[in-house]
């Protein structure tokens, strides 16, 4: 081709125009690019706004759950009331019910108010007792039963205030709403203010939110996540112990050993499909296999863990296979070339190189399993459980709850006190998820190797 004969005469048409002026085509292309960038940017901004909104609403509602109103006062543990036999016999001590302890607390509160010289106004003693949480007598009783030597002495106790008093300080209950509420009254709230000034009533960090079990509808102030956290941890252990080895073994077999034929193609397609199956379907599967057929107990973390394992397996197999595929074939050649067997090639070279991808996939699979609610509802994990499960492995068969199920459960309760509980539980769940993702990132960085 000679320089004087251009391939396309039109191509030379614009070369005479100035470089400083954009031609119409360039203008149109630049405008398209600008529009595209604007779409992208607005998508990001929208997503960020949604995230900020979510975080503000969750933290705004949920953070108060980590603080609680407590009443601190001395209580004389009257031996005549608590230990009628006088022999500190555990059987005798157990006869004193929470009603007796409730009376004790009520009179202690009355005495404390009198000692501080506070005017209780028109409140009846019965209403005065209602300022203390219904949970508190049981807490005190457990403390005494654990340490009978306390009987006959005067101890300083810190007990939960009632949910309404607590709500008053968290802005949930006002004087107006209290006037319409049979569980509290404006007089009670006015007295609470005086107690607060006197230092009897105070807002404190509430570790019980993380350690105590769930509580009944009437006492949101005592509800905690202890059993749910235990249940979730147990289930994650089951999922990790089962899904990681099974998932990695299945991936290695499919990727490195299995012949490529119709059957493996079918398996491959179905693994991808299984990852997209709605999780509630796994719940029904778990119900029929593990509970109805295998006879495992309901509400048990072992069943929850097994169901979540089924659900997580395809979500581990897919990234694991991708990680194995990403290992350069030259490494396999190198190992085979010096006479390594196929299994040695895989265990010595391919798996270590794929490890960051495998671990990341596994942890993200676990994180998904941690947040899964629907399948757990079907296997009875939504039950009201107050007893902590035992230590594993037996504890895996004890009833327990799970974090997402507990959140769901609390949002169904009538008392407005549970709104903050549910949001607080979401914060705990988010912290768990962020921690797991941080672990995934750490592993990825740690095992990442260049070749």
């Amino acid at each position: 081709m000679t320089a004087s004969a251009p391939l396309n005469p039109r191509a030379h048409h614009d070369t005479r125009a100035s470089l400083l002026v954009q031609d119409p085509r360039t203008k149109a292309r630049n405008a398209t690019e600008k529009r595209f960038r604007a779409y992208g940017l607005s998508a990001i901004v929208l997503a960020l706004l949604a995230l900020v909104w979510l975080l503000i609403s969750i933290f705004g509602n949920g953070l108060p759950a980590f603080k609680q109103s407590f009443i601190t006062m001395p209580v004389t543990l009257d031996a005549a009331l608590l230990d009628k036999g006088g022999k500190r016999d555990p059987a005798d001590l157990a006869k004193a019910t929470t009603i007796a302890y409730g009376k004790l607390l009520a009179s202690a509160l009355q005495a404390e108010i009198a000692a501080k010289g506070i005017d209780i106004g028109a409140i009846k003693p019965k209403d005065l007792a209602k300022m203390i949480s219904e949970e508190s007598p049981a807490t005190l009783r457990n403390r005494v039963l654990a340490d009978p030597a306390l009987i006959g002495t005067t101890v300083q106790v810190t007990v939960l205030a009632s949910g309404r008093i607590d709500g008053y300080y968290k802005g949930r209950v006002t004087m107006e709403s209290a006037a319409l509420d049979k569980n509290t009254s404006p007089e009670q709230l006015a007295l609470a203010d005086k107690l607060k000034t006197a230092g009897v009533l105070s807002m404190q960090v509430n570790p019980g939110f993380l350690t105590m079990p769930d509580a009944s509808d009437k006492r949101p102030e005592a509800a905690g996540l202890g059993v749910a956290i235990m249940g979730s941890i147990y289930m994650m252990l089951v999922v990790l112990v089962l899904a990681l080895p099974i998932g990695v073994a299945a991936s290695v077999y499919l990727e490195e050993f299995a012949p490529k034929n119709k059957i493996t193609d079918l398996i491959e397609v179905n693994i991808a499909n299984l990852a997209a199956v709605p999780s509630i379907v796994y719940g029904i599967l778990g119900l029929s296999i593990f509970i109805n057929f295998a006879g495992l107990p309901q509400s048990a973390p072992i069943v929850g863990g097994l169901v979540l394992t089924l659900m997580t397996l395809p979500r581990i197999i897919i990234p694991t296979r991708a990680a194995l595929k990403a290992v350069p074939p030259s490494i396999r050649d190198a190992a085979l070339g010096v006479g390594a067997s196929r299994l040695q090639t895989i265990t010595h070279h391919v798996l270590p190189l794929a490890m960051p991808g495998i671990l990341t996939g596994t942890i993200i699979g676990l994180a998904q399993a941690l947040g899964e609610t629907a399948p757990l509802l079907l296997i009875g994990m939504v039950a009201f459980v107050r007893d902590f499960p035992g230590a594993p492995p037996e504890g895996l068969f004890d009833p327990a709850s799970a974090l997402p199920v507990q959140i769901y459960n609390w949002t169904q309760r009538g008392d407005p006190g549970f709104v903050e509980r549910a949001s607080g539980a979401i914060i705990v769940l988010l912290v768990f998820l962020i921690a797991m993702n941080a672990v995934a990132i750490y592993f990825r960085r740690k095992f990442e190797r260049r070749w």
Partner: protein, 264 residues
């Protein structure tokens, strides 16, 4: 081509590998047709030919690396010291310990230099203790002319070396299992001329102990390092003989066209 080595004679007549009527199929594609080759002991044999002529495929048949390709099928007879390497009783793992391989692209394991060389002896159980292993690693790195450059950083990653050093590390790794034959698939194609010269020098030294088969695109390289040359074209072995004869007095017109640059 004034290279002195063109005059080098093959100084042994022991046949290491013997291929007779070797055929290779990829599915229905007949990639290698009726190849008869004798690989001599303590000799460098070069396979030359245009891209896609099957020389790498044939090389990979010699230590059954093609086993990893499901659609690949080998027929005919290929024997190592009289024993068929495609006999069903042969375990390719044992075979590859006796016929080592160096690849086109340097592919050290992402491990330390020491572990790269020690890997073969370790998995084949060639040493009884650490001292013996250390000795093997040192002697192999010396044979690969790498010892002086890496002796004070044996624990550094092998992937941190330069391309030429990596390829010499791969050669050290391949000879650490004391193979009888060393297959090299275009070992210098990813290297610069200086590294290439080092590797070529190394190949010439290795000849005293091993039988070397090298696939190369560079005819100069084949002329420089080999004593015998096989010219492949379209899956056929066109000509096989002493390197000097192939380059100076080819019998087949296709060989002559290729070495003079008319086809390829």
């Amino acid at each position: 081509m004034k290279d002195q080595r063109l005059e080098t004679r093959v100084d042994t007549q022991t046949i290491k590998i013997e291929a007779r009527k070797a055929q290779v199929y990829y599915g229905t594609n007949h990639a290698i047709k009726d190849v008869d080759v004798d690989i001599m002991d303590k000799t460098v044999t070069a396979f030359i030919g245009p891209s896609g002529c099957g020389k790498s495929t044939f090389l990979r048949c010699l230590n059954r690396m093609n086993d990893t390709i499901p659609s690949c099928r080998v027929e005919g007879s290929i024997t190592l010291e009289g024993e068929s390497i495609y006999d069903p009783r042969v375990d390719p793992v044992q075979l590859r310990a006796r016929i080592g391989m160096v690849f086109q692209k340097p592919n050290p394991f992402p491990k330390s230099i020491y572990d790269n060389v020690a890997y073969g002896p370790k998995i084949h159980g060639l040493t009884r203790n650490k001292a013996e292993l250390d000795a093997i690693v040192e002697s192999c790195l010396r044979k690969a002319a790498l010892w002086n450059e890496v002796q004070d950083r044996l624990n550094a990653p092998g992937t941190g070396l330069s391309g030429g050093q990596q390829q010499r590390l791969c050669i050290a790794r391949a000879i650490a299992t004391s193979p009888e034959v060393l297959l090299m698939d275009e070992p210098c194609s990813a290297l610069d001329p200086i590294a290439t010269a080092q590797v070529e020098e190394l190949i010439d030294e290795l000849r005293s102990q091993f039988s070397v088969v090298i696939v190369t695109h560079s005819m100069q390289q084949a002329a420089r390092v080999s004593q015998r040359t096989a010219f492949f074209h379209l899956g056929n072995l066109v000509e096989f003989g002493e390197t000097g004869q192939i380059f100076t007095n080819p019998k087949d017109p296709r060989t002559e066209s290729y070495i003079s640059g008319r086809i390829g």
